[in-house]
Amino acid sequence: MSGRSSGGGTRLVPYLQVAPLALFTIAFVGIPIMTLLALSFWQTDGISIYREFTLENYRELFTSGLTYRLFYTTIKFALITLVATTIIGFTCSYFLVFHVRSLKWQIALLLVCTIPFWTSNVIRMISWIPFLGREGLFNRAIMSMGLTSEPLDFLLYSQFSVVLTYIHLYTLFMIVPIFNSMAKINPNIIEAARDAGASGWQILTTIIIPLSRTGIALGAIFVVTLVMGDFFVARVMSGGQAASVVSAMKNQIDNLFYPQAAAMAILLIVVVALLVSAILRVVDIRSELAK
């Protein structure tokens, strides 16, 4: 990029600069994933682990109906959350970029959206409990309005509260990248389309949505991987009813069935990788980011 290099010595510079990151990432991301892969092919009797090759962990995994139910539930949660966060994230970003006129206000309102990201997820999750419970604010409100005589039970400790919490925690991951993409759209394009007689809806569907796709795809990758990797929200907010893939894996770990847990982990990594590459097939993020 700099176009100038003074002598052969500087050719080494990027290698020296990137060495700490490279060594760290290989040692603590690459090798641990390889360790999981190896572990998933080893034998165990529930007490100790034997370093002998076996396919038993995977055979058990694929012949158990539970595996399919777990993946079904987890993927269902991920897709519902994805749709909801995309709609909310797109609408909020659209408002900020195209309706808020001063840059100062845009940045201030975007900060309002992102500050909760820097606070504890556990606290943000449990903050729904006093709102949604049988004695909670929402049930009190609708009962005092006479809309229902009995408190609604499905609000808390249900699949509903799990998905609601996901949306609450992860919409930020949609807003920021979509805002970024939208802010880069040249206003002249929209002006030109309007002059040529395009309706607001046409501008939205033929200009804004296509030009925001990098942001939507980036946000989608975050949301899908965060939901697929969650166990704590699924465990607490479902009241122990809904099990996610990772919460089942956590149970195996607690019972010291490490090779089985590793096989489940590898399967989850493969499923997540397939979902991410499906998103990348639609949008080539790397070449879009380089623009």
Binding site: S2, V18, L21, V29, T35, V112, P116, P130, F131, I221
Partner: protein, 276 residues
């Protein structure tokens, strides 16, 4: 862009939607802040039975809430270590990625994997690797590297964004004026990038301070604060749970405020210097 045009009904609809979203975002949190000041006989939900700081005192004096003080100390120390390491490593890696080097593509993808692999799986991998190597798990070793697998890729992506807007002609001018590489870095590159580096540092600290999935299996015998708090959610049924929520959120807000104020002060000072 819509300068001078009248605001249509679309604006008000979208503004209402945005307001609802902000209420959705902050409403529940506000509720637990209020409930943490619940009176001594009050419970986990409204109504408030008086107003007191009883539950904050209970949190500090009672032993039945686990090792909160120790958890807080460890989380802050880990956050500070992650802050320093993330800022330094991401800065140099970001600078390196401006040029071509062998392995840039695979390293970029491995960093993205580090970001998107479900955290608890990476934690499992790291803990198993440590055990196979015969190393003991501890918050300061395996815990710290687990946190860095989360903060480093974020730091790298922020550096990409920051360097994207960085004009390399400043560096070239310094070099032409005879500055050595180290002097260019210290006197030109780092001062220009400083607000971006504060952003990396802020992310490094807060992401580490709140990290849980990666920490869970790598922390060893002594827990960090988020794990202590998540254990509390399973066992504690008093407003003390909300009191810890209020305290830890207040700390997060303080860190955010300090970061933004320091960015603003630096920008101001620069503008003044530019005017001189």
């Amino acid at each position: 862009m819509a300068q001078g045009q009248k605001r249509g009904p679309g604006f008000y609809l979208l503004a209402a939607f945005f307001t609802l979203f902000v209420i959705f975002l902050y409403g529940p949190m506000l509720m637990i802040f209020i409930l943490s000041f619940q009176g001594t006989t009050g419970g986990l939900t409204l109504p408030m039975r008086g107003v007191s700081v009883h539950w904050f005192g209970d949190l500090l004096t009672s032993t039945r809430y686990g090792d909160l003080g120790g958890g807080l100390t460890r989380s802050i120390l880990l956050g500070l270590l992650a802050l320093v390491l993330t800022t330094v490593i991401s800065l140099f890696a970001g600078l390196a990625f401006r040029r071509r080097f062998v392995g840039a593509g695979p390293l970029f993808y491995l960093s993205i994997i580090s970001l998107v692999v479900p955290g608890i799986l990476l934690g499992l991998g790291i803990s198993q690797m440590f055990q196979l190597l015969g190393l003991r798990l501890s918050w300061l070793t395996s815990g710290l590297v687990a946190h860095l697998t989360w903060t480093l890729p974020f730091g790298l992506l922020i550096m990409f964004a920051v360097l994207n807007r960085f004009d390399t002609s400043w560096e070239e001018a310094a070099r032409d004026a005879g500055a050595r590489a180290w002097a260019t870095l210290r006197l030109v590159t780092i001062p220009i990038l400083f607000p971006g580096l504060i952003a990396v540092a802020l992310f490094g600290f807060t992401l580490s301070y709140d990290e849980m999935p990666r920490t869970l299996l790598t922390v060893g015998g002594k827990n960090t604060l988020p794990i202590e708090i998540s254990n509390m959610t399973m066992t504690v049924t008093t407003p003390a749970l909300y009191a810890i929520g209020t305290l830890t959120s207040a700390l997060s807000f303080a860190v955010i405020a300090i970061s933004f104020i320091s960015i603003a002060v630096i920008q101001k000072r620069r503008e003044r210097r530019a005017e001189d």
